[in-house]
Structures are given as C-alpha cells and as structure tokens.
C-alpha cells in the first residue's frame, strides 16, 4: 500500500504536464481553424505528399535502426569480453559526444562530408576520386546512425553484461560453435536490450527534421519536416497536431509489434 503512494507525485506530474498537453494536441488535431470538429487533419495523411513523407521516414529510420543494431551488437560483445565495462566508463564514452550541442555536432558532419570537406580532402590527397556525400539519403542515414547509436549500444551492452559466463561456457563445452552460441544463447538472452535499443533509435529517427535539413539539403521531405513546418512556417497547428497524432499511432503500433517479442513486459533501457 505504502509503495503505491510513492507514485503520487509522479502521477500528478504526468497528468499535469503530459496528459493535459496531449489532450490539447488531440483537441487541435480534431478541430479546424474555426474550432469545429473535423477529421480532415487526420485523413490528410493519405494525400500523396504526406504519405510519401511518412513512407520515406519509415524507410530511413528502419535502415538507420538496422545499421545501428548491426554496428552495436558486435561492439557490445567486444566491450563485454574485454571487461572495459568496469564502472560506468563505457557509458560515458558513448554519452560524452552528446555533451557537445546537437546542432554543432551535425554541422560538424557537414564540414566533414561537404564537396570541399575534410573527407574529400583526405581522398584527394591520396589521389582518390572525391565523392559526393552530402545532400543524399545516405548522409541522412549517417546522421541518424551517428546521433542515435549510443541509444542502441548502451541497452544491449547492459543486458549482455548480465549474461552469466557459465552459460556461454556450458554451451561451448557442449560443442556449440560461435554462430550457434550467438543464435541460441546470446540473441535470446539479449532480446530486452535489443528491443529497448530499437525503440530508442527508431522513434527519434522517425520524428527528426534537423538531420534531414542539414545533411540532406532539405531535398528530401520527411514526416518530421512536414509537422515542424506546419507548426512554424505554415502556422497551421491543427494540421500539425493531426499529423502528430497519426505519427504517434504509427509509433505505438510498431512498438506493440516489437513488444510481442519482449516477454518480460519491458526492456532494460540502461
């Protein structure tokens, strides 16, 4: 009983600063400029531009999430093996870049990727042909992977650290090779970490607009850009809210899909 009281402050806080603001968004999303009820804002997701933007966002975030996973998993295994994870050193190594401002970091990538940028400078000094790297979908994916990789590494690393060495040894003693251990032991035991990693990469990647502006040259319209523009330049909060609601539904649906594989209810974030 007393334990439940502990959630009191949190519940009050959440109702005040999450639920009520959310209801305001729902209100805006379901009304037009005159205040009359309408579903037009929600339905507008089916227009060609919005559907395409949503589709592109889903695609790019999916690719980024996949790349993050592929990069992060071996990394977490190596880190675990090396025992670099003493203390929270490893956590800091991945969080530290985030202490440089997000905008500055992304601008720095521009400096690296540009036609006369650092990478092409290195390539041409090696007499290799220069590449056009910036203003491509690839650059957007790179920006997403860069910014969200820590969110994939940390939960996976955390969950791998909890796996008992004896389990692995037992499998190997029983004659399992590396791939068998990986598929039969490592993966199943690290599912919660993978799931929270996927969530924490996929969601921000789906809603971002700064990365596609700075690294994609704004030539690719993502759903995040559409929503941002409706709130700022277009100043049509009703449409922006309606599209946000649609986006939330998509996120919730994909999370529900993922959660089916998470038998314990929720993954371990950190």
């Amino acid at each position: 009983m007393s334990k439940k009281l502990l959630s009191g402050p949190y519940l009050v806080w959440m109702v005040g600063f999450t639920v009520i603001p959310l209801l305001l968004i729902v209100y805006y999303g379901l009304t037009d400029r005159t205040g009359a009820f309408t579903l037009a804002n929600i339905i507008s997701i089916t227009t060609a531009e919005h559907a395409k933007a949503l589709w592109l966002s889903l695609g790019l975030s999916f690719v980024s999430t996949l790349i993050c996973l592929v990069l992060a998993y071996p990394l977490a295994m190596i880190l675990r093996k090396r025992g670099i994870g003493k203390g929270s050193f490893v956590v800091f190594i991945f969080i530290l870049p985030m202490w440089m401002n997000f905008l500055l970091r992304t601008l720095a990538w521009q400096t690296l990727l540009e036609r006369n940028g650092v990478i092409n400078g290195i390539l041409s000094s090696l007499h290799l042909p220069t590449q056009s790297l910036i203003n491509t979908p690839g650059a957007i994916v790179l920006g997403m992977v860069y910014n969200f990789l820590p969110f994939m590494v940390l939960p996976i690393y955390n969950v791998l650290c909890k796996i008992d060495d004896n389990t692995i040894n037992a499998a190997q003693d029983l004659g399992a090779n590396f791939w068998q251990t990986l598929v039969l032991i490592w993966f199943p035991l690290s599912v919660p970490g993978i799931i929270s990693g996927i969530t924490m990469v996929f969601v921000p990647a789906l809603t971002t607009f700064v990365i596609s502006n700075l690294l994609g040259g704004s030539k690719i319209l993502l759903i995040g850009n559409v929503i941002e523009q409706e709130f700022t330049r277009g100043s049509n909060w009703h449409l922006g809210s309606g599209l946000s609601l649609v986006l939330m539904v998509f996120i919730l649906a994909s999370m529900a899909l993922i959660a089916k594989y998470d038998k314990n209810g929720e993954g371990s974030a950190f």
Binding site: S7, M14, I95, L103, T111, E266
Partner: protein
C-alpha cells in the same frame, strides 16, 4: 600455435573495430575542437591558429549566463526527475498488470512525441494554467521529459532485485524505509545513476522544448546557438564546447583511473 595466431588475429580485428567506432563517434567533435582554434569564422577554411575565441567566450556575459542556466537546469531537472522517477518506478513495479501498462504507456509519451509537439503543447498548458513562462517553466518541461529516462533505467534493475531479501529484512523487524535503503536501494543504484546521467545529458542537449517554454531574457546554450544560426555561429561556441568536453573528459579520466583500490564486480 595455430590457435594462438587465430586468437591474435581476432583480437586485432576487434581492436580495429573498436577504433573505427571511436573515430566515427569522435570525428565531428575533433572537427569542432580544431575549428575553435581557427582564426576564421568560416566552418570550412582553416585561418591560422588563434586563442581569441576563448578570450571572447569568457568575456561574453551572454554566453556565461547561458552556460550557468544550462548547467543549473540540467542538474536540477535531472535531480528532481531522478527522485520522482525512482519513487514512481518502485510504485509501478508493485502494481497490477493493467494499471502498470497504462502508466508505462503514459510514461512513454514524451519520448514518442516529436519535440516540437511536446514543446508547443507544454507552452499551451503553461498558459492555460496561468504559469508565467520563465526559468521555472524550462525546469518543469525538462523534468517532464527526463522522468521517463529515469524510470526506464530503474525498472529493469528493480526487476532483478530479490524480493525475499527485502521481505526477510521486514520479518527481522526492519522498518520498510530502513529495509529499502539497506537492501533494495544498493541494488538499483546503478540504474538510478545512469538515469540521472541520461537525464542530465538530455537536458543539456535540448533545444526545441526549451525554445517554447523559456521566459524572456533566459537563454540556455542551445537556444543561444540556434539564435546565432542566421548570422553565423560564432567560433566562441566551439571554444565553449571544447572546454566542456575537455573538462568532462579530464574528470572522467581522474575518477576512473584514480589510484584508490576499487571494488570489482559485474
């Protein structure tokens, strides 16, 4: 012999992989650090070595104020979020499945919304409540989006704690509070701390929510940097970022490699 060579190769490959990831993570940061010493406002050209941006940075009252605001807000919001979030996580873990699912769903909302939606909806809510926008509203907003990170960090640790030890302590006559701090708290401490750290970091990095919830004349480093975009970001911002980065790195190295004997355990 063969095995050893193979192991060595594997080790080298692993080292190579680690180094590549580190290069990837830190390349832009190195770029910014180099730019902070460049005697040119341009982002693409090297203009010769200078320390003038560092001088300008310390002289600018605007930057120093923004720095102070940023740190105070990050620290305070992370602290409050940690206290509220940890208490909530303990309560939630004792709940029945249905309320638990509902509350966890609400918890995820700030993480699922686009920042601009969270920012504008909070601004509207503050105005509806009659809270005048100022320092306090940034703090409230940051606490709001920080709490989920704390809860998500603490919950898994709580799940791992052994309930019977806590019950045993109660049976032996310990008060619930005493038993909690003696038995449960040490177990979940790493989760609490990484929640705090993550909250601190998120608060440092936020721009959009701060923009809409801040009061007049109050700037954080993020809002300051964004307001400079139109006229070109001053390299003093790179200088400041470099100092923050180096400070944290030095502190990190000192604490991690301090001579005192540390307890092992994973």
């Amino acid at each position: 012999m063969m095995k050893r060579t193979k192991d060595n190769l594997k080790r080298i490959a692993q080292d190579f992989y680690l180094v590549m990831i580190m290069v990837f993570l830190y390349a832009p940061i190195a770029t910014l650090m180099v730019l902070s010493f460049s005697n040119s406002k341009s982002r693409t050209q090297w203009g010769g070595f200078t320390l003038r941006w560092y001088g300008e940075m310390f002289e600018s009252a605007t930057i120093m104020n923004a720095l102070q605001n940023t740190l105070v807000i990050a620290f305070a919001s992370a602290l409050f979020a940690t206290i509220i979030g940890t208490a909530a996580a303990i309560a939630i873990s004792a709940m029945k499945p249905l309320p638990k699912t509902v509350i966890m769903g609400i918890t995820n909302i700030p993480m699922l919304n686009a920042d601009i939606v969270t920012g504008i909806s909070l601004m509207l809510a503050f105005i509806a409540f009659g809270i005048s926008l100022g320092f306090q509203t940034i703090l409230i907003a940051h606490i709001t989006f920080n709490i989920p990170y704390v809860i998500l960090s603490v919950m898994p640790k709580l799940k791992q704690t052994n309930k019977s030890v806590y019950e045993a302590a109660l049976d032996l006559g310990a008060s619930p509070i005493y038993a909690f701090f003696k038995v449960v708290f040490p177990d979940i401490l790493p989760g609490v701390l990484s929640g705090f750290l993550l909250a601190f970091t998120m608060s440092l990095d936020d721009f959009i929510i701060t923009h809409f919830t801040k009061g007049a004349g109050i700037n954080t480093l993020s809002t300051l940097i964004y307001s400079e975009v139109r006229r070109g970001i001053k390299p003093s911002m790179y200088a400041l970022s470099t100092i923050i980065f180096v400070t944290v790195l030095v502190l990190l190295i000192i604490t991690n490699f301090a001579p005192h004997k540390r307890q092992e355990g994973r």
